[in-house]
């Protein structure tokens, strides 16, 4: 993503802010806008922008609770009822794929969060797609031009989702490999960022997305309904997810998934992931390491 695109994304994300806060956000110099990652709004405190080196306060006037409500109103286009499921999960996806994380007073019903009200803080994350993120690993993951079942392994914040998204895009579009029909179980909407049914982040032309439901259920739904050649999911964390992946593998579908972890040994130690290795359900393991602000990828053959 070049500087201009980064600035465009920044300006688009600032579009969700109420007028006063938007003016503050846009008062940041353009070169800083290109580096902006998030806007942080906390009631009773001035808004700040998150840059790679940390948070920087913008302006002096505190954010009011009314402005937080207005932020939600703008982002949902005054249609909270249409995005209530997302709000219950604490976030809201807006046009462009930017995500608004929300905090406030939870209203509980039958032991579950029914809604959030009296918002106390919000975090507008600027969506930026890193096209080409999968270039360094694509060749190794697609022996003979066809994707092999792959697990991406890295600690939080290392870029698993970014790599997964770009791999899905490339496989779906057949960039440097055989084009395949991809089905994506995007439980939290972080990979494709559906908005009005349209992925706001490019996940390729042959990709079908289900979001908002638990991964395991989403994977099985996609397997039954969409006849996928590749099934993808972000952050495999529950035994049901692994069961769903095993079922899909049994149907001859190629898998593409991510998990938190450092190394292959780390995976082997955890009973949750052991079946994936022992049953040779995943063939390739991609590890991501970050050093000096750069990402390094290692591809391992499994079994």
């Amino acid at each position: 993503m070049d500087g201009e695109q980064r600035i465009r994304a920044y300006v688009q994300a600032a579009g969700a802010l109420p007028q006063r806060l938007r003016q503050e956000a846009l008062s940041l110099p353009r070169e800083e806008q290109a580096r902006g990652e998030e806007f942080r709004l906390r009631a009773g405190r001035p808004m700040s922008v998150v840059l790679p080196e940390g948070e920087r306060t913008l302006g002096r006037v505190s954010v009011s609770t009314r402005e937080l409500e207005q932020l939600v109103e703008i982002a949902s286009r005054a249609s909270l009822h249409a995005v209530l499921d997302q709000v219950r999960r604490g976030y809201l996806t807006m046009a462009g794929g930017h995500r608004i994380g929300l905090c406030g007073t939870a209203c509980m019903r039958d032991g579950a969060i029914h809604s959030l009200s009296r918002f106390s803080s919000a975090d507008v994350r600027i969506a930026r797609q890193l096209r080409g993120a999968a270039d360094p690993v694509r060749g190794a993951l697609c022996p003979g031009g066809k994707l092999a079942s792959t697990l991406i392994l890295a600690p939080p914040g290392a870029g698993k989702t970014t790599l997964l998204r770009d791999l899905i895009r490339q496989v779906s579009d057949g960039a440097g490999c055989q084009p395949l029909r991809v089905s994506l179980a995007d439980e939290r909407g972080e990979v494709a960022a559906l908005y009005g049914g349209v992925p706001q982040l490019d996940v390729g032309g042959r990709t079908d997305v289900v979001e908002g439901c638990p991964k395991a259920q989403g994977l099985i739904l996609l397997l039954r309904a969409m006849n996928p050649q590749v099934l993808a999911a972000d952050e495999i964390t529950a035994p049901e997810d692994v069961t769903a992946l095993r079922t899909a593998a049994g149907c001859g579908v190629t898998l593409l998934a991510t998990a938190h972890g450092e190394s292959r040994e780390d995976l082997e130690r955890r009973s949750l992931y052991r079946p994936l290795l022992e049953e040779h359900i995943v063939r390739k393991l991609v590890r991501i390491r970050e050093k000096g602000g750069q990402r390094f990828y290692t591809v391992e053959e499994l079994g």
Binding site: Q19, E69, Q70, I74, R77, A78, L80, S115
Partner: protein, 169 residues
Amino acid sequence: MMRLLGAALVAAGAAWLGFRAAGTLRLRARALEEMAQGLALLEQELEWDGPPLPRLMEELEGRCRGPARALFRDCRRALDELERESLSDAWEELVGARGELGREGQAALLPLGDTLGRCGCEEQRRAAARVRTRLEELARRTEEEQRRQGKVYQVLGLSGGAFLIILLL
């Protein structure tokens, strides 16, 4: 001749005033009914589907008549300028512009601005139902008033005109 013509004009003016007063009540009753029908459609949509407000307003604009149509159309436009003005503030202005509903009708509609698009479908539907009930009540009352007072206004206009003719001639 001129006196006769002048007297006829004054009489016609007085009669027109009487008919106009009666007509205002009739139009208000109709406007309140149309607004209530619009809200009934809003409730229905919220119950069945609950689409995002811009789509909902567009759909209702196409299906409603009179003040409901105008209000939903203006509301849809206001949704494009949310960063400048919140929907509840815009709603207050938009309702204020619908003079055909009368003060009481406008006052009945105002609370809906605090709920519309700001909570779940069911809460919005209940709020719309409350406002609709109030508007239906007002429409009934205005119709009764129109039946009762409308004729009085007309008779007053005509007899006032006749009285003026007698006085002038």
